[in-house]
Symmetry: D2
Subunit: 375 residues, 4 copies
């Protein structure tokens, strides 16, 4: 049984293209660029249609990786899963989470499960496939492929599935129309939600959280009782297919890291997150003002404005705001909640949680170093 | 010793001018409009220069109050302190907190201190006085007058001082220049900060938190080590003077409510708030999902983006964002934190905490019904 | 034949509720509030879902009108057509255009047609009727009723039809769902477009610009070849029905004013407007820097971002912008064009021109004093 | 006398990093990357502090240029003046204007003056030098150096001076404070205005439009009677010094292009621009709907919201808007005006015209092919 050693490093940055912190890790011998399999970035754009900071960060990464990998920047983009999520509203801090993986020859399985990572991609989607069954099914297949690559045995061992998915621009919508196809929506901003929704349903399908018979084009963005507890989808203008990164636990992993997850029932559900942190042996780090707890590598979370227009029965104004998009409000609020629980602000909080957790809530996972592996 | 009975009611609304919930309280015999001394509203505008929702709400209140008080809408505005704070970013919910006060004849002092309220106003300020010593000193006098009216004996018994203060518009700036005066700033948005800053320093001066010798025009917005732990200032386009509402504890009060306060050291300082809530015997209400705890009437808090550009040593992007003003980011984040601690979203979180708590933090008070007074 | 004398006055304001300029006209004997039939306001909000400046201005007008009309503010709202359009982006200046009408006994018809105005309202719409045939047909009936009231004999004499129409909020969308109805869209911002679209198609139907057989629920927002050359619809949160104001020419009018219209083919079509101004004997007033030409009362125009994503073949970015809504961009640009042609900035430029003029363009009318009537 | 041949090509793009149109010119043999001396780009960001589209475009250009120039991307940035101006509000279309220059051996001077271009750079500025005399004087020197390089004999032959200048971020402001220096402002957005202002005054000083005795730190952003009629400054986060590009006419030029300029007196001053276009023999191209006039290469213009708060005596709301920065409003409006005069939307309209033209107005230049050189 070949084994993988996964390293996860969180690196702060001064802007979307600032990789000086990453370079420093390389210079210090702490990171080998050839082992990088995925990067999850939080960049400081609006996280919506015209957020070019995601593409900007991706370009910087590709140009930085190319010489290390001995390939062109375009090929680097194919080899490493670059998931850039825009929006660091409120207290959130821009950063990159770098996933590296090293294969070691066949060894005895690890005595306890450890963090593993698997990656897969779908084919490119036609504009009219986005937000519909075609995207759902292709995503489900990619999730299974990524699980297999990660040597994760069962769905219960999957704790986070990050997906980067495309969106519709006016150009794509018109191109589809010229070819006689109607897209799922004519609104570019709305298309981001549809793409995330179909991606999340693909995860739920792959992990057995929902059954094929529950699914149809009509269920997307409508039947919010269908959701995945581990899916996190982020849509961006810079790609045409889905990139899938599966994070889970496996005895085929030799990492000193672990992962766990929970689901926030709504945007202010601190209790679920607190319970998860306690179960992982991570103290409420808001008590250690200023000190970065070495055990916590990062939280990865989804946030959204409750589509009901209410939180615990009381009206919110996020969905009626024409100055600030609802996803920006939601990231700011949930970012505040999670930062107050961990004492840290460089957290991955991504907007738009359609079918990712219950309506108004979202999945949260924690990557950490278990206490018995510290020291 | 004349005694006062203070009632505080939090009322949700569907828009800045929606007083149907207030009218319902009157219809049910739970509120007598003639006893209202102050209203603190959270309205759903941007909370910045061109936020007309504050003025809109004030107009609605004046027209509603006038027939009850038997006066004109303009006179109603003079009689009742209307403090409208714009901005319900993130999970926050628009609402009004209505303070009523009834005087009862000379009685024995209450066995334990209870919530009391006092109100005072300064004169109108000339544009060039805003953000400078003139505004500071007039505010300090008004705070003392309000304390006296409230029968609060000592500064330590003051737990919240809400101030509504004016701002500079381009018209006022030009008018000043035509009269040969330069205003403290030429930027309308920035003027809101200066006005809040001078108001807060006036509170600190009145309560002995700083000494007169520490103060000067130059200290405003510069020496952030000078601050008040109970001041909350909110600037708006609809007035030219400072309106001061002092909330505190006194044995001259017969209310069944109490008030306490703390200071958030930064935007994610949940610990200080948790300690305050515990000290008041208020359980962590995030455990009682969906149920509104009857003991908590409201939290009143100030929020701001850390002027250092960092929170616990890590960069935030609020001050460099030209799409969303920093005050909006800060309200969204702190609103999320406080809502996660109380399980409620109709909280009064106001932006711009210059000299109100330490840089990047802010005062928080809780109005509540002490356990022994619950039925 | 009873005759009407129409007066149109443009009044600047310092904010949504500032009626001091209107009061001044009354004090000077230039305006009798009892003759006011309609007010078209440009207020300084975002013109989108959460623009409360429209409602704020309406409330101010109702409270101002009530004592003059000897009725309640609510009744004043019923008697006078208050059309408040939000958004004064770029050079545009907030103002009110006040339409007054006096009836004089049966007289000989005017030798030449003059400006007349007619007003009508539809019933309230259910949320699921908005943006569909029900709204179209009710609007068409109201247009005909308004023409009749205005004594306009034929469709060719109609030069502008202003409609104020409702929008969907999250509350209305959910209420519809609870009653088993699906609304035309689940997006509040998008609902504004649907409501304007159905209203404009109602005008086109009434004026014979399109035939009943061309219309269906599906045509709304889709078949942009269907449009009216005189419709101007503005959606707002403050009403549930359509208010229709028809402006046209009739020999039953004794006004010293006239009205003409044209259609901008796209957002930069200065030529069409120049031709209209020349035909009306209005000089290119951009030559008279600083001097307000007494002959021009106002331009009333619609603006929109070309849904094709292109203007004269070149890409624009308005529809992909998630920070500023496309209607705001369009008002700013078209406002600049029209102001440069007239030398004036207090122009009525309203956003969202769905089915109002060709895609990407919009109707423009001019109200003016013909040269031969100048004194 | 060595002669230069200047080519200017306007290239549309689909995003900040899209250089496919530029590559196409190379592939067609119409552009030699080694001759490029400057690129003026309009990118689709907010044009304010956190507009990363400028830096993104610059990075794309550097990586594209590097292999052509046989140098590193960093060196390419040093060799070619990359001036990226953010903001394509309203009808404006993102594009690049590429200036190429070829030197030919000593020849007889051209019979008539032709377009020439000169480039120079200042040293890097310390944060506390920005917006003050140090930046003014260094800029004036660079302008003279660029004129000399361009072989422009006199100030009257200079028609446009484009400057790219730095801005203050919170990091730089704090760094200055730690070194005991106070910056000209503590507001990052405001710093952009100061940097543009000092740069423009440097141009005015170099061209003799103002005298040294009129200048001081205090005059910057205050004495708006001091201005240049040809300066265009654009501030960005991606550089620390001023880059100066001088465009003018000289008999040392062999180009088939010419340049002329005028000054818009305010944001709606179409007359001045019309006069310039007529004087250049360029027809009012708004008459030729859809057809791109081959003679017009581009307009380069500055726009700003009148700091007086009024345009031709009437209030505008740009400076009191806390949702959209005033520079964005101004670009949208002036872009509409200029597009309506030329029938084109890919125009270079840059925001923030402090000391660049009179208050509220700005310089405009036209690059074109004179009629006698067409054919």
């Amino acid at each position: 049984m070949p084994q993988q050693i996964v390293t996860v490093q969180r690196v702060l940055c001064q802007g979307p293209s600032d990789l000086s912190g990453v370079q420093q890790l390389v210079d210090q011998g702490l990171l080998d660029p050839r082992h990088i399999v995925a990067v999850m970035g939080k960049t400081e754009g609006n996280g919506c249609v015209n957020d070019h900071t995601r593409d900007f960060a991706s370009m910087a990464w590709c140009h930085w990786l190319a010489p290390h990998l001995g390939c062109s920047p375009e090929e680097a983009h194919q080899r490493v899963a670059l998931v850039m999520s825009g929006g660091t509203e409120g207290v959130l801090s821009p950063h990159f989470t770098v996933f590296s993986r090293q294969w070691v020859g066949a060894q005895a399985p690890s005595p306890t499960p450890r963090l593993v990572v698997g990656v897969a991609q779908t084919r490119d989607f036609a504009p009219w496939e986005m937000g519909r069954m075609a995207q759902i099914q292709a995503t489900a297949q990619a999730v299974k492929a990524a699980m297999q690559e990660a040597q994760i045995e069962q769905a219960a061992d999957v704790h986070f599935v990050q997906i980067k998915c495309p969106l519709l621009t006016m150009d794509k919508i018109r191109a589809a129309q010229q070819q006689g196809h109607d897209t799922v929506t004519h609104d570019t901003y709305e298309s981001m939600g549809y793409s995330r929704a179909a991606s999340a349903l693909g995860v739920a399908l792959a992990l057995g959280e929902i059954t094929p018979t529950q699914l149809s084009d009509e269920a997307v963005m409508r039947d919010m009782s269908l959701y995945s507890s581990t899916a996190s989808a982020s849509s961006g203008i810079e790609l045409e297919n889905n990139v899938v990164v599966v994070l889970g636990m496996s005895r085929a992993g030799q990492s000193n890291l672990a992962i766990a997850h929970t689901v926030m029932q709504d945007a202010i559900d601190a209790r679920s997150v607190t319970q998860m942190l306690h179960a992982c042996g991570l103290l409420n780090t808001s008590d250690t003002t200023g000190a970065e707890p070495t055990q916590l590598v990062n939280l990865l979370a989804k946030a959204e404005a409750a589509p009901s227009g209410k939180i615990r029965g009381t009206r919110h104004t996020m969905l009626d705001d024409s100055d600030i998009n609802a996803t920006r409000h939601a990231r700011a609020a949930v970012g505040g909640v999670l930062a107050s629980l961990t004492g840290q602000t460089a957290l991955y909080v991504s907007g738009g949680a359609e079918h990712q957790g219950p309506a108004g809530g979202g999945p949260v996972c924690v990557i950490y170093q278990p206490g018995e592996l510290c020291g």
